[in-house]
Amino acid sequence: MSVVELDDVVVLLGRFPALAGASLRVDAGEAVLLHGPNGAGKSTLLRLCAGLLRPESGSARVLDTDLGRDRRSVRPRVGYVGHQSMLYDDLTVAENIRFWGRAAGVSTEQQEASARRMRIEERLFDVPVSRLSAGQRRRTSIAVAAARRPELWLLDEPHAGLDQSGRDIVDALITDAAASGGAVLVASHELDRVEPVVHRRVTIIGGTAVESEGTTRVR
C-alpha cells in the first residue's frame, strides 16, 4: 500500500515553481531519504505531503487522500517537523506540549510518554521555550509531533542542532516508525548519518525527484 503517491506534481510558492513535476512513491513500512542541493524543493515536497501546500497540477495522494481535493483530513495524521519549531515562545515546554496535545486530541499519558521518549529533562518542563537552545526546541517539536502517533513522518533536517544522544533518538524514531508499518520521509544533507536507517534514497534537484541508482537497503 502506498502512503505517498506523487505524480508529476507542480507546487507554486508565489509565482515560483518550487516543485516542477515531481513523482514519488513511498510505501508503508518504508523510510526514504530525500537529498539534494539547497533550494531543490525538499522542504516544499514535505510541506506538500503534510497538506500545507496545494498541488497546482499533477496528482498527489497521501494516506489515500487526494490533496487536490482535501488537504484537511491528511494533516492530523502526519507528523511534520519543519525548520520552524511551531512552539509558542512565551509558554513553557510543558504548556506547549499540553496545548498541542490537547489541540490534536491526544491523551495526557501519550504526551508524557512522548516527552520521555525524546528524553526532555524534567527541569526543562517549566522553562519558557524562548530560553531553550535550538536542540532542546527541536526535541520538544518532535515530542509534540510524536505524541500524535503519526502514520507518516515528514522530517525536515531532523538532526540539525541536535547532540549525539538526540540524533540517536531520532534515528531510533525513524527505524521504529518504519518497522511498525508507518512511512518516513527524511530530508537531510547528512547522508552518512541517515543512510544506515533508511531503505531508499531519492535525489531532488530542480523541483523534480530522481530515484537514485544503487539504493542502499540496510534493514
Binding site: 503534510a50 492530523p76 519543519g82 525548520h83 511551531m86 509558554l91 504548556e95 490534536a104
Partner: protein, 217 residues
C-alpha cells in the same frame, strides 16, 4: 476555549497588552488633552469620542499582537496540522482578544474619569455599551487579522481595512457613552443594542469564513 486559554496565558506571561497597549491608549488620551488646550468643558463634552478613538487605535495594536502570536515560529501551520476546527480557533482567539481589550477599556475608563473628570450618570449603561463595543471590535478584529495572517504588509493594511469597518462601532459606542455620561440626549440602550447586533453579525461572519481565511495565507 483551548486557544483562548493559550492566548491569555501567553498574555499573562508577556504582559504586552498591559505594558504596551494600555500605556499607548493612555498616551493618546493625554495627547488629546494637550491638543484641546485643557478646556474642561469641551474635554468633558468630547470624552466619549476621544475615549473610543483611543480604544480603536489601541485595539489595532492588540489585533496585531493576537495575529503575531500565530505568525511567529510557524504556529499557524501547527494549528492547521493539529486538525482543530477553524471555527473553534476563531472563537478562541476572539475570546482572548475581547478579554484583553476589555481590560484595556476598563483601565482607560478609569483614565478618562480621572483625567477628563468624565461624569458618570448611568454606570450600567456604560458597562453594557462597553461590552457590546468590545465584542464587535474583537469579532471584527480577529476576522480581518486572520485575513492578513502572515503577510508582510499586515501592519500597514490592517488599519485601513479594519478602521472603516469599525466606524459603526465608533458611532454607536460614542452615542451610548454620551447618554451614559449625560452629555448627549439620546437613547443609549438602543445604541447598545446596535453594538451587540454588530458584534453578533461579525461573530457569525467570522465563524463562517475563518476556515477559508486560515487556509489561504
Amino acid at each position: 476555549m483551548l486557544v483562548a486559554q493559550k492566548d491569555l496565558r501567553i498574555e499573562l506571561r508577556s504582559k504586552v497588552a498591559l505594558n504596551q497597549v494600555v500605556p499607548f491608549a493612555l498616551l493618546v488620551l493625554v495627547l488629546f488633552g494637550f491638543a484641546l488646550d485643557a478646556d474642561r468643558a469641551s474635554l468633558t463634552n468630547f470624552t466619549p469620542g476621544l475615549y473610543w478613538v483611543a480604544i480603536l487605535l489601541a485595539s489595532v495594536l492588540a489585533v496585531h499582537r493576537s495575529v503575531g502570536l500565530e505568525a511567529g515560529e510557524g504556529a499557524r501551520e501547527g494549528l492547521l496540522l493539529s486538525g482543530m476546527r477553524p471555527e473553534s480557533v476563531y472563537l478562541g482567539k476572539t475570546l482572548a482578544l475581547i478579554a484583553q481589550i476589555l481590560v484595556v477599556a476598563l483601565m482607560m475608563l478609569g483614565g478618562v474619569v480621572i483625567l477628563y473628570e468624565a461624569p458618570v450618570d448611568d454606570g450600567l449603561l456604560l458597562v453594557a455599551a462597553l461590552f457590546g463595543a468590545v465584542l464587535g471590535v474583537g469579532a471584527a478584529g480577529t476576522l480581518y487579522g486572520a485575513l492578513l495572517g502572515g503577510q508582510r504588509a499586515r501592519e500597514t493594511v490592517l488599519p485601513i481595512l479594519l478602521l472603516p469597518v469599525l466606524s459603526p462601532v465608533l458611532i454607536a459606542a460614542t452615542r451610548a457613552f454620551g447618554d451614559a455620561m449625560g452629555t448627549v440626549a439620546t437613547d443609549g440602550w438602543q445604541w447598545t443594542g446596535l453594538l451587540f447586533g454588530f458584534g453578533a453579525i461579525y461573530l457569525a461572519l467570522g465563524v463562517v469564513s475563518h476556515g477559508v481565511l486560515m487556509e489561504e495565507n
